[in-house]
Symmetry: C2
Subunit: 807 residues, 2 copies
């Protein structure tokens, strides 16, 4: 009987290659009958069996298209050691074969290059998506103000490019672009026009935000938020099925555009990381190597998060460092090099798509011309302190708000919440020029170093010609013979100061309530905007100080650049909120392109991080991870208490003893009883109950499936059959035994009960363990899982240990 041949095959016996075709055919038939598929045996326990090659090969043929093979349950933690070992086995298999034939050599080469191909695809796809999001966002944002008569699909800038007016001033009032007031009332001046524009602005904002939240709620709840806390958790080895799926991708892309366009105080940079990771995850399915291995897939996701930042800011190196510093858990050098490649591909794809003719790769291209003076480090550090304080305040306020949302009835009406916040935002934002424009426009304007042709309010300077007699508003295209650095603020600048001061309050408040709502929402742009406003204000102040007191030594270089202050402020606030360091400086460096400004940047971000850390250790992403109870083992955490492994392990002193299996002497019924009585996901195997010396570890699902299958396929297996985990296979008396040695992990990691908890955590983190056994003088004493450690850590910091939701 063919079936029998297949059943035997599972228990680690060699099958000859000749049988492959027949057996796999029969297996295909089998699969339709069996609830638990044979695939569970194909994982090639690298630890146990040396003679499993036959089985592995056989099941390689089988497992394509089978669900569940080598996968974990949802909301579970992967075992990095096992996953990496699996991948090494696969690799070894391929390298061994490659000497056999040309085809195998080609397969081996294609295997080696599949990683690069995947990176290329991720770069192309993410770059294209980011480009699409960019275009759509620009269009919808402009739609709030008016419409293009040449075609409603043109945005303001694009619409006016086609018109024949080519100078700046004329382009501002290009005839093809009609504001809603012009279209309805016929004029664009006066109170009625203002009211019409105001109403249209608010209505569009409401519509976009309503659509965004409704679509998210209806189709992909995972699409909300920035996604970075969840991606950090996933990269650390947690499984959240569907979080990076195709539905999430589609819905997040659409709703991100809507949410950003609605004028809510949120950015698209964080969600772009989520979008890129979705791309990475989906494209992983094209390659068996990555589809079937959770550890390898996480390497790809690390690279994808680099791609996300790369397309968000146009900063490929910064993106790679962001992935390394902020989100990744396991980041080997190979991944770094590939991430860099993918990030570059994505950045260049985005640039080649960019329809606005701006050939700059970066989001906020700035070029400063003046060097900075050494004494300016003092205001730079002040900005750092502001950034740190603001960051710490923001995190506390946002956490308080999110906790309040979670614990009150507000949390039950997410749609209403979003619409109300959008309404308030739009109502308050419209009257102020600096809040009406989008966050990234605002930042661009603030970073900008006023050039001769700038018509912006912020560049409205009254030039003082040498001799000091002649004052005049010469801002528009005037002759700045005296240099740009000596200038008194004109009325426009004073107006701007007031508007900016109001904007900073408005932005802070709205961002606190917005981040965490059920729409895609990033934090980079809002916090950078707040910092940029603060920086610009300080910069203008310094500049005016310099103008009225040239003689002070600090102003001897006489070159205050308010735009530089804005940039430093932005970096400081972003640093205060996210606690990024190197990656932040490198991203900003890529924006400016000159090593010249790295020292100020470093001063600002360093101060900001120190100040913020002094007020609270956690960055916003860690805070959200904790709020949501994700099982994330923070590498930065330090232990003040000196606990030992035995204080953390289960069973505690009051608990019933540990459920273990013995390597021999247990019947199938007994094993099944233990499985039924407990809900542990695995069981240690010991020599005997009297001498609990550790033999191995078996996973619950493997055990269930093997017994189930043996009962069906293997003749003579009854409840009384002995279950053998030893190598000895013959059992002289009684029914034939069930040998399950091939499914156990013979190399479980064990530590002693006296191991300090900090070393234990190090071992967990560095090896990516799922669980670890605890022994005392060679006897098995208990077990520590990642959850036990997280609970212990929560307890130590006086938090509720039950807040860690998942296992």
């Amino acid at each position: 009987m063919e079936n029998n041949g297949f059943c035997n095959d599972k228990y680690g016996n060699e099958s000859s290659d000749d049988d492959l075709v027949d057996v796999s055919a029969s297996a295909q038939d089998l699969l339709e009958d069996l609830p638990y598929d044979e695939q569970y045996y194909g994982q090639g326990y690298s630890t146990g069996g040396r003679g499993q090659n036959g089985t592995a090969k056989l099941l390689d043929l089988l497992d394509d298209g089978l669900h569940g093979l080598g996968t974990y349950d949802d909301f579970n933690t992967i075992d990095w050691v096992r996953e990496k070992s699996k991948d090494r086995d696969r690799h070894r298999e391929i390298s061994k074969k490659k000497r056999q034939s040309v085809l195998d050599l080609l397969l081996s080469v294609s295997d080696a290059f599949s990683g690069w191909l995947l990176m290329l695809l991720i770069g192309l796809m993410s770059g294209a998506l980011a480009g699409g999001i960019d275009i759509a966002t620009h269009w919808l944002t402009d739609l709030k103000e008016g419409i293009c008569m040449n075609g409603f699909w043109f945005n303001h800038e694009h619409c006016c490019w086609d018109s024949k007016e080519t100078t700046f001033q004329e382009r501002e009032k290009c005839p093809n672009w009609k504001s809603w007031a012009e279209l309805t009332v016929g004029v664009n001046e006066g109170a009625s026009a203002y009211v019409v524009n105001y109403l249209m602005y608010v209505s569009w904002a409401l519509l976009f935000s309503y659509l965004a939240v409704v679509i998210v709620r209806a189709f992909a709840p995972y699409a909300c938020g920035s996604g970075i806390p969840e991606i950090k958790t996933i990269l650390s080895g947690f499984i959240i099925r569907g979080y990076l799926g195709k539905w999430t991708l589609v819905i997040k892309t659409i709703t991100l555009v809507l949410a950003v366009s609605s004028g809510l105080s949120l950015g698209k940079e964080g969600p772009l990381v989520h979008v890129a990771c979705c791309c990475g995850n989906i494209l992983c399915h094209l390659f068996t190597k990555y589809r079937k291995n959770e550890a390898k897939r996480r390497e790809v996701l690390s690279a994808a998060s680099a791609v996300g930042v790369s397309v968000a800011f146009g900063a490929p190196i910064g993106g790679v460092l962001f992935s390394l510093e902020e989100v990744s858990y396991y980041f080997p050098l190979k991944t770094m090099w590939r991430s860099f490649f993918a990030a570059l591909v994505a950045a260049f794809t985005l640039r080649s798509i960019n329809p606005f003719g701006n050939s700059q790769l970066v989001l906020f291209y700035v070029e400063f011309h003046n060097p900075w003076h050494f004494l300016e480090l003092f205001p730079f550090v002040l900005l750092g302190i502001f950034g740190g304080l603001w960051g710490a305040f923001f995190i506390r306020a946002n956490m308080a708000w999110c906790r309040w949302r979670k614990n009150t009835r507000l949390g039950q009406y997410p749609v209403l919440e979003v619409v109300l916040v959008a309404l308030a935002t739009a109502l308050l934002a419209f009257p102020n020029d600096y809040t009406r424009m989008s966050g990234s426009q605002l930042i661009s304007e603030l970073f900008n170093d006023c050039s001769l042709l700038d018509s912006s309010q912020l560049c409205d300077y009254t030039t003082q010609v040498q001799g000091g007699a002649m004052n005049g508003n010469l801002s528009h295209g005037a002759n700045f013979s005296n240099g740009l650095s000596e200038r008194a603020a004109g009325p426009g600048v004073y107006t701007a100061i007031w508007q900016l001061a109001l904007a900073i309050l408005f932005k802070t408040l709205t961002t606190v309530v917005t981040f965490g709502m059920k729409v895609p929402s990033g934090l980079f742009i809002p916090s950078m905007a707040v910092g940029a406003i603060a920086g610009r204000l300080l910069g203008i102040g310094m500049e005016q100080l310099a103008f009225y007191h040239h003689d002070w030594s600090i102003f001897s270089g006489c070159c205050i650049t308010p735009g530089l202050y804005a940039m430093l402020g932005a970096a400081a606030c972003l640093g205060g909120v996210t606690r990024m360091t190197v990656s932040l400086v490198v991203i900003m460096f890529e924006l400016t392109g000159g090593l010249e400004y790295i020292v100020p940047l470093m001063a600002a971000t360093m101060t900001s991080k120190w100040v913020a850390d002094a007020l609270g250790r956690e960055g916003i992403y860690e805070a959200h991870i904790r709020l949501n109870g994700y099982p994330f083992l923070e590498p930065k955490e330090e232990f003040e208490h000196k606990t030992l492994a035995m204080d953390v392990m289960r069973p505690r002193q009051s608990d019933p003893p540990l459920s273990v299996l013995t390597q021999s002497g247990m019947s199938v019924d007994q094993v099944e009883a233990i499985i039924a009585d407990t809900s542990y996901s695995g069981f240690p195997i010991v020599v005997s109950q009297e001498s609990p010396r550790l033999v191995g570890f078996v996973l619950r699902r493997d055990l269930v499936i093997s017994i189930d299958n043996a009962r069906r396929c293997q003749e003579g297996i009854v409840g009384a059959s002995q279950v053998l985990f030893t190598e000895q296979t013959s059992n002289p008396v009684g029914p034939p035994p069930l040998s399950l040695r091939s499914i156990i992990d013979l190399s479980p990691l064990a530590i002693t009960d006296h191991t300090p908890i900090d070393i234990t955590v190090d071992i967990f983190r560095k090896l990516g363990l799922r669980q670890c056994l605890v022994t005392q003088n060679g006897r098995l004493l208990g077990i520590i899982t990642k959850k036990d450690i997280l609970k212990h850590m929560a307890q130590m910091t006086n938090r509720d240990p039950e807040s860690i939701l998942f296992n």
Copy 2:
């Protein structure tokens, strides 16, 4: 008796804080008598004792200024787990105290900032040293050609700056600078002048190289070579005492200047990493935190190696990535941020020292103005292939030469070797312009994009004016109205091509024999020079092709930049030799400052790495590590064979059984006999010989010292006293027992005999273990040390396992 009180204190009994002053005073007296100092007990085995705080505190007072505390023997491997645990204990102590008084709070703050202060000092010191080396090298290099009449301490450029002639042409023949021929024969033209100059050039070269090798040999043998292989090994946890000491620093700095000035084919970039690491190591002595902890010190050294590259190229970000990618073993994010800070400080220190008025931060500042065409990727990839082939060839040739040197009598005459190579180099280099100039000058010239005023031979183009009728040599300051991109090569370029073709052969040959000699020698500049020549040649070829075939689609952009080709060639060759990836691209990116050229760079380095890897897995540094037999556990190595831990562990089947101690029942004499019979550096402790269940691990030196000390200080300890490693302290019969529980490590890491070797290596690498015990079903079976793994790996790749020299 006070002595007695102190002796008791060592065995883990609590001492009250009140005793501290007295006891420490008595201890100070003691120290002069005892050969083995008490300090060995002060390491605070975080693993074992919960009641050791008293002891730890006591000994904290003692161990300042004592030699040997917490240190390892020379040529030994450190235990990262223990070192990090020690540091965490120290940190915990400080954070606990900081709430007690203002002084303690200040101490805690100063402790937190000492890392930053150290980084600042390293940056300043390395920057200053690099600046000094730069100045001295320029001066000595110019001294080979002539002397400044204003003062012999001026180099050529400096000398001529002071003169009143300010234009380029005039500066070339400034009157203050006299070549040796002018000084002696009176003229600088003609055969006799040439001969005089030639002779002087060769003599200086011989003198410098002779001095360099003699000084190295006499004072600091560790100062030779590039130092990067050794630093990699040290960072991985190996101890080479004196390698980073002050003598090495002084001698390396001096001889590096001499070696570079002698015109040998070597660079100063690699040795600068060594110099920076010496600075780091020396400055570590200022801070207890770093002086006493080998793991913390290695963090500082990682940062210092970033500083080295930062000052070598003026590329701080590239330096950090170099440290991360190429040399570091354990590189936490905190270190990365600090490295970045130190690298920046160093780069700016160097710049502010730089006396040549070149305000650029970077070594080879290049600015290209033309974009590249997509189809140019083809020649770029060609350069990558060349770089890979050249790198693989270079490594093989150099290894063969080094092995030949090692095995023949050549190795016994290092001074003669250096002088002969210097003679040959100088004799061959002088006649060719491109080999006579220093490596970095050559690279600068090759990277240079010919501008209008360039008088270099490489920029000697015959411009073809539109219409094509008028041909003329207009190179010197001529009117390039037709753009720089359309130009035919003039006779100068053709001469240069021949000279460069000879130079590439010459450089390759001399570098192969030079790298590995007993003088400080870096590899970056020579390999970049070879690549730059190849690139420039290809670039000129492409340019001429473009000139004669404008109509080909590849030339539609018509903007071939030969300097860009040179840069790519340099990157490709350097990549082929060192196998750097991200850091190489980032260093080059920092040189050019534009993201525009990253794609070509990436194409060239990627190809180069692939080609070189296909021909041989090892980079030059790994090859040298292997040649010297350093115990370095390569992270990139892969295992084709599927061995288990039991195949690697000792004792092998034929060996005598493992030497173990039992937790009770052994007398002092028995323990001493085991110590005398074996040379192992540590012993596992088991429950009993019959039931070898693992209890802990004790280090040989701890055991020796404790017993020695107990015999002297503790009353009643005789040869028959029982040694107890258990918690039970009372022994009813016989002499009083010797309890040594406090010195044993109760949390040794143990793996099972079935653990695959790849997982074992992962555990070793990630946790930084020194040894690991192997158990089978809870019984101790054997031990695996880092050396066992290295030997096994050598065996697997058919190398001589005995080539690993050190333990």
